[in-house]
């Protein structure tokens, strides 16, 4: 190989390599960006905050049939566990039929806070054409406990009503007996 050929190889090789790396890099990067924003804190039990989620198509092709679902985890130290959204939210997943390149789909994710503690919420997007789902950032928040059942209302009813019934029936009994004569 002469000097000219060597120079050409030295110039072309990095270009080819860079191109290859770039291509590989482009193939590994998902076309989806998902983000979730939490409500203002502090939060307490019984609140119904709304989390705002956005899904962006950063690729070159239109995406279809995307499934976006909400996940909730309890982050109580030493007892971390997933939480069933059954009683927290009626909306647990949505489907985005089409998302064009550059398009952003935003969704509101309302939730009712039914338990006190430390929690994390994230959105996950599943693209049927991709092997890897895309997960958003984790929004961590604390829910303050709040006794929601007011004993000042319940106790008078719980004690008063049976006594009132007993009184009514007692009066009826006395009235009936007095009519015997």
């Amino acid at each position: 190989m002469n000097n000219g050929q060597l120079v050409a190889l030295l110039i072309i090789m990095p270009l080819v390599l860079a191109l290859a790396v770039g291509t590989c890099h482009a193939e590994g990067q998902s076309p989806i960006l998902v983000d979730i924003q939490g409500p203002a804190q502090p939060l307490k039990m019984g609140d119904t905050p709304t989390f705002k989620g956005s899904v962006t198509n950063v690729g070159n092709h239109e995406l279809s049939g995307l499934v976006v679902y909400l996940s909730l985890v309890s982050l109580k130290p030493g007892a971390e566990h997933p939480v069933d959204l059954e009683d927290w939210s009626a909306q647990k997943a949505v489907r985005i039929s089409k998302l064009g390149p550059g398009q952003i789909n935003t969704q509101d994710w309302p939730m009712r806070l039914i338990e006190a503690g430390r929690f994390g919420v994230a959105l996950t997007v599943v693209d049927p054409d991709e092997k890897q789902p895309v997960v958003s950032n984790l929004v961590i928040f604390n829910i303050q406990p709040k006794p929601t059942l007011s004993s000042s209302r319940i106790i008078p009813v719980a004690i008063g009503e049976p006594l009132f019934l007993l009184l009514l029936y007692g009066l009826h009994w006395v009235y009936t007996r007095s009519r015997y004569s």
């Binding site: 069933d84 039914i114 709040k146 059942l149 004993s151 319940i154 106790i155 009813v157 719980a158 019934l165």
Partner: protein, 250 residues
Amino acid sequence: MSAVGSLLRKELMEEVFSTRGAVLYLTCSAVLSIFAILLVSNTELSLLDNAQAVYMMCGIVLALGLLIAVVRGSDGFAGERERQTLELLLVAPIKGQEIALAKLGGTLIAWVLVFVLASPFVWAVGSTGQNLGPALIYLFFSGMLLTLILGGVTLALSAKTRTFKATLSIGLTLFLLAASPVILGPSLRQGSIGRLIDWVNPFAHGLNMLDSVVVDSQGISFQLLHFAILTCYAVAAVWSVNVMTRRVEL
């Protein structure tokens, strides 16, 4: 007063002012009181979301109402037969269906009484007022339909069975069959069998409707299917009462 009106008045007097009625309604009130006090006194339960607490209380009320409906329905003809008062009704110029109508009316009135007794408890646990109004409305109407269903079926059975005990055991079995899948909890009802049972079980429809309204804050459009299914069952129950009481014999 018509014969049916007269019979209905008798049912009401027996239901409310008899010793049995007093025991029944005092027990109802006591059960609701115990549950309400439990909600307040237990640390975990007292932190329950209001909607959850209201939903649980409504479930208890529905169950109590249906138990009373089963007892009353079973006693309808079989109890009169055992107490030897049925013959005197049959020899009067009134039809078996008229007697059944009065009995069913009495059972519905019993549900209204249970609802009246329970309303203060539902109000008490629903302190933030979330969906309290809809909870009471849907509880009333779903209770009416379920009372008609279970009370009607047991009344129809009692027209043909010999004893109150036999009818009651069938009625309680039906009640437990209806209630048991619901007791199992949502995770066990996720499978196809569980969903099928939820679909055919009228009690499940009543509870799911309350869940949808009270917990998930969903409107009437989500409840139409539940109402439609409950109404179909109620119509079928009333029809069975009509058929079984066409000819009542001792």
